[in-house]
Amino acid sequence: MKSRKCSKKTLALIAVAALLFASGGLMQTQAQLSIFSQDYNAEFELDHLRVHLLENGKDVCGGNNTLEHKDTCLLLQARGYDGKTPGTFEPGRVYKEEIAAQNGRDIPEYVRLTIRKYWMKADPKTGAMVKDTTLKPNLIHLGYGSKDYNSGAWTINPAETTTEASTYYLNTVLAKGATSAKLFNTFWIDKSLVDPGNIITNESKPTSDTDEGVTTTSKTITYTYKYDGYIACIEADVQSIQTHNVNDAIDSLWGVTNVSASGGKVTVK
């Protein structure tokens, strides 16, 4: 009797499975045979946010950038990769360095941008470039006209400011596809690095030569400065978050308690 009951149940299950399979097949067949109207076709795209880091109006490294792989993306103008001869970088000279954010999707987003500045120098033992903490990061300058940054459109967060890093919040929500106001537009290295106190050697050597009645005399001046070979580094990190439940997102993803957003406006307390 037991085995008969089981077989009935099994049969019932097989019947249900067969029905489900058949109905699935029918649905597929129906889908293949159905004709749809373009007028009533709707697409739903579930996509994440996208934010781009812009330097002088262009997406840095073509938008495919991470700190690990792209160590020469920024400061193109200062490094002479705008058509000038590379290696003509000059202390105190202000170079165009327009930093901004761009919304790369159809979803509004809130944006913040963190800048880190530091120095590197060659390790005297290995020759490898290592971080140097003796030379002050504030000798590396970013600016906006005569101001430190574009305070009309961005707000610095004192709670996230150290000697090396600063975080700036875009004051308003960044609309879909929009480009933010520039955070900075200039970059330069402090000219105090070439003060007389930073000269190591300043040698002068005379030479003379006469050939076919033409006498050529020369005097060579050689000089070396203390910070020759140092490397100024700037890291820029732009981040965006959703506008819904934005304060939970700020708290959870950015981990700051003195920043809030409401009605498209950002407040840094």
Binding site: L53, V214, A236
Partner: protein
């Protein structure tokens, strides 16, 4: 009793699942980032050389930045002190790249590595006549100085201006655009 216990277990499991699902929704925020690094090497060593060529009654003076690509750009000046003598006159010929101020001729451009200034030519005449090489017995002392080119920003004009090197009392106006 067994059925009641099972129902309780099922209800508890359902409640836990509901909690997990709702918690998952709360922490799933949308976000994105892009990051980049830029490096600029400071090239603050270099070498300049003055080249003087003497032929007939002329002395031609140039300054060369002998640094290699990547070395520093410089500003340069020369002082030319001819020896005084009866009836001896010196004529200076130079292009508009040079500016005389005080006892110096200042080169009015930044001299990049591998580049040379235009020439200053000094012609010596005695009583209005050119000297022949065997009559050349005059000293023209030429000194040259150079310093790494450093700038300051003129925000009002949005332009970079070369600053006076330490120890110099003058520098001609040399500008570079912000670009």
């Amino acid at each position: 009793m067994k059925i009641a216990k099972k129902k309780k277990i099922i209800a508890a499991a359902a409640a836990i699942l509901t909690l997990i699902v709702s918690t998952g929704l709360t922490v799933s925020f949308f976000s994105d980032y892009e990051a980049a690094l830029g490096k600029v090497a400071l090239h603050m060593s270099g070498e300049t050389q003055i080249q003087e060529q003497t032929a007939d009654n002329e002395k031609t003076i140039k300054i060369v930045n002998t640094g290699e690509q990547g070395d520093a750009s410089v500003v340069a000046r020369v002082s030319i002190s001819p020896e005084d003598g009866d009836g001896v006159t010196y004529a200076f010929e130079k292009s508009g790249d040079w500016e005389k101020h005080g006892g110096y001729y200042y080169y009015k451009k930044v001299l990049a590595p591998g580049k040379s200034t235009s020439a200053i030519t000094v012609t010596i005449t005695v009583n209005g006549e050119k000297l022949t090489p065997d009559q050349m017995d005059f000293n023209i002392i030429v000194n040259h100085e150079s310093a790494i080119a450093a700038y300051e920003y003129d925000a009002a004009k949005n332009v970079n201006k070369v600053t006076k090197p330490s120890g110099w009392d003058y520098i001609p106006t040399i500008t570079a655009p912000v670009e």
